[in-house]
């Protein structure tokens, strides 16, 4: 197992300079999610109008994999319809457990190496589980 397979440059970059990190005014959805095994936590705030994700912010604390994955996810879904965002979250979870995604994943593809480290898969999926929760639960 090579560390560099997991910690790709793109991941370290997102971890050091997370995109859309922080809070927004008047979100339409707010969800929090915990990873009870390691204590990682994430909060997502979204502004959704007419089925479109107009804006998204995340906050919380966690390892580089969970923070980078959250940052990459926000880039992938901002400005996209809710249906595409849901498909992305589902495909990412297939991809990170060794399967194949049927939609383009953008920077998230850099997380491919994580699939070799089963104990870290839950770090990578935390933000995506939170996104699914935000998009499927009534606000």
């Amino acid at each position: 197992m090579n560390l560099d397979d997991m910690y790709r440059e793109t991941i370290l970059d997102h971890n050091q300079a997370p995109r859309h990190f922080g809070h927004m005014e008047n979100p339409t959805q707010v969800v929090g999610m915990l990873n009870p095994t390691c204590g990682d936590q994430i909060q997502l705030e979204l502004k959704i109008h007419d089925g479109l994700i107009e804006d998204i912010r995340f906050s919380g604390q966690g390892c580089s994999i969970s923070m980078a994955s959250a940052s990459m996810m926000t880039e992938a879904v901002i400005g996209h319809p809710v249906s595409e965002a849901l498909a992305l979250a589902q495909n990412f979870k297939t991809f990170i457990t060794g399967g194949t995604s049927t939609v383009p994943l953008g920077d998230l593809e850099a997380l491919h190496g994580v699939s070799q480290f089963p104990s870290r898969v839950k770090c990578a999926t935390l933000a995506h589980n939170a996104l699914e929760k935000a998009l499927t639960e009534p606000s």
């Binding site: 560390l3 370290l12 390691c38 204590g39 966690g62 390892c63 580089s64 994999i65 870290r120």
Partner: protein, 406 residues
């Protein structure tokens, strides 16, 4: 230079390379590795004497019973219990503490009674009491910790009252590695008519244990953290308290007489051991006690303390490293963080170099809140570790900083 206390050849797993490196096992506070003699005792049991205990008159059953009871007697002597009937086999510390809460707590606590504990407790010495409080209407009262995470007796006194029924404390913190003043707190508990429960999960593996000298009423500990198998642990209690408490697991072997409508209970220890016990585990724990006693608990105590204090000193000297709790005295565990790098990432880099540490909240979330961290890395030491392993810890820490700041 502190050498290992034992021949590493006694521990087969330590010969296994990890990611191309020598295994440096620094996670004994989670579970210890097992010597050949413990592994052999399990094999011997299953290959030569396996039978259910206490039930049958055939040779195998007789031998199994004798072996399990010999282990019980050995453990009783190891902790200076007044007799083997005070030693109850459980699955581990968690089950032991839950049993105390159910067996004694449910029977004797009433609305308005108080349970005093510390915010540094492992979840296994916290949630059973939360649940007991919820069932009985009792209230939890928390001892306020000193800034360095230690316990001051005046802060204990501040939480005691004539409603205190139970005081419970870990003897050694699983995060800070600090020693808690068990004897003094036990005396204070007894003065207000409360019982003293001790979580010995991190102390019994490392320190000589004398339940009478520590003034405890109940002591809980796990076999797997002291060279024994998983799935076996001990609930020790004063026989008068165990006699007064009610059993919590009902079924085979815990009864005296049964008719269609009711039953009476067996004598100690069987009263608390419903069902077939983990016979092999009990025998394996007996073999672990033999091994520990051959090395000597006083030597182990000195060794665990010296390594933990050396690790603290050397980690604290590295720029950007925060180490939690006081530098000394401490035993066996050192929790730390590398500024700007999450402990999971720290542990991942360590693993790539064969160094096994724990990362997370260590099942002590209230303490994490007090320390104002979500998680920490934790290195823990035992009798097979040496200063060479501290060297590996320090090198891995330096490498982690380099790796994430490239």
């Amino acid at each position: 230079m502190i050498p290992a206390l034992v021949d590493l050849g006694d521990f087969p797993i330590l010969g296994r390379p990890i990611n191309g490196h020598r295994l440096v096992y620094l996670d004994s506070a989670a579970t210890s590795q097992k010597p050949r003699s413990v592994i052999d005792s399990l094999i011997y049991y299953y290959e030569t004497t396996n039978a259910n205990v206490l039930r049958s008159v055939h040779t195998l059953a007789e031998e199994s019973t004798v072996a399990m009871e010999a282990a019980r007697a050995k453990i009783a002597q190891f902790i200076n219990a007044r007799g083997p009937e005070e030693v109850i086999f459980t699955r581990g510390t968690t089950e032991s503490l839950n049993t105390i809460a159910r067996a004694w707590g449910d029977k004797f606590l009433e609305t308005g009674d108080e349970i005093v504990l510390s915010p540094m407790e492992h979840h296994s010495n916290l949630i059973p009491w939360q649940q007991l409080a919820a069932r009985t209407g009792a209230r939890l009262r928390y001892i306020e910790l000193e800034p360095d995470g230690t316990i001051a007796l005046n802060q204990v006194q501040a939480q005691l009252s004539d409603r205190t029924r139970i005081v419970t404390l870990s003897a050694v913190s699983n995060v800070l590695g600090t020693f808690n003043p068990i004897r003094e707190v036990a005396d204070m508990a007894h003065q207000v008519g409360a019982i003293m429960v001790v979580d010995g999960a991190q102390s019994v593996p490392h320190l000589p244990t004398d339940v009478q000298a520590m003034g405890a009423d109940f002591l809980a500990f796990s076999g797997h953290k002291m060279l024994g198998p998983t799935g076996i642990g001990i609930l020790w209690g004063k026989s008068s308290l165990l006699d007064a408490a009610d059993p919590v697991v009902f079924g085979g072997e815990m009864i005296a007489y049964v008719d269609r409508e009711s039953a009476t209970w067996a004598e100690l220890p069987a009263k608390f051991e419903g069902g077939t016990p983990h016979i092999a585990g009990a025998i394996g724990l007996g073999a672990a006690v033999d091994y520990l006693q051959k090395v000597g608990m006083s030597r182990i105590a000195l060794h665990s303390q010296q390594l933990a204090e050396e690790a603290y000193r050397r980690l604290a000297a590295i720029e950007g490293i925060t180490v939690y709790g006081p530098p000394a005295p401490r035993t066996s565990v050192v929790a730390f963080n590398v500024t700007g790098i999450h402990p999971h990432d720290v542990a991942q880099v360590f693993d790539s170099r064969g160094v096994a540490i724990r990362a997370g909240h260590h099942c002590a979330q209230p303490l994490m809140h007090l320390l104002d961290v979500g998680a920490t890395a934790r290195a823990s030491f035992y009798l097979y570790n040496s200063s060479r392993d501290v060297d590996a810890l320090i090198e891995a820490t330096e490498e982690t900083k380099r790796y994430f700041t490239r």
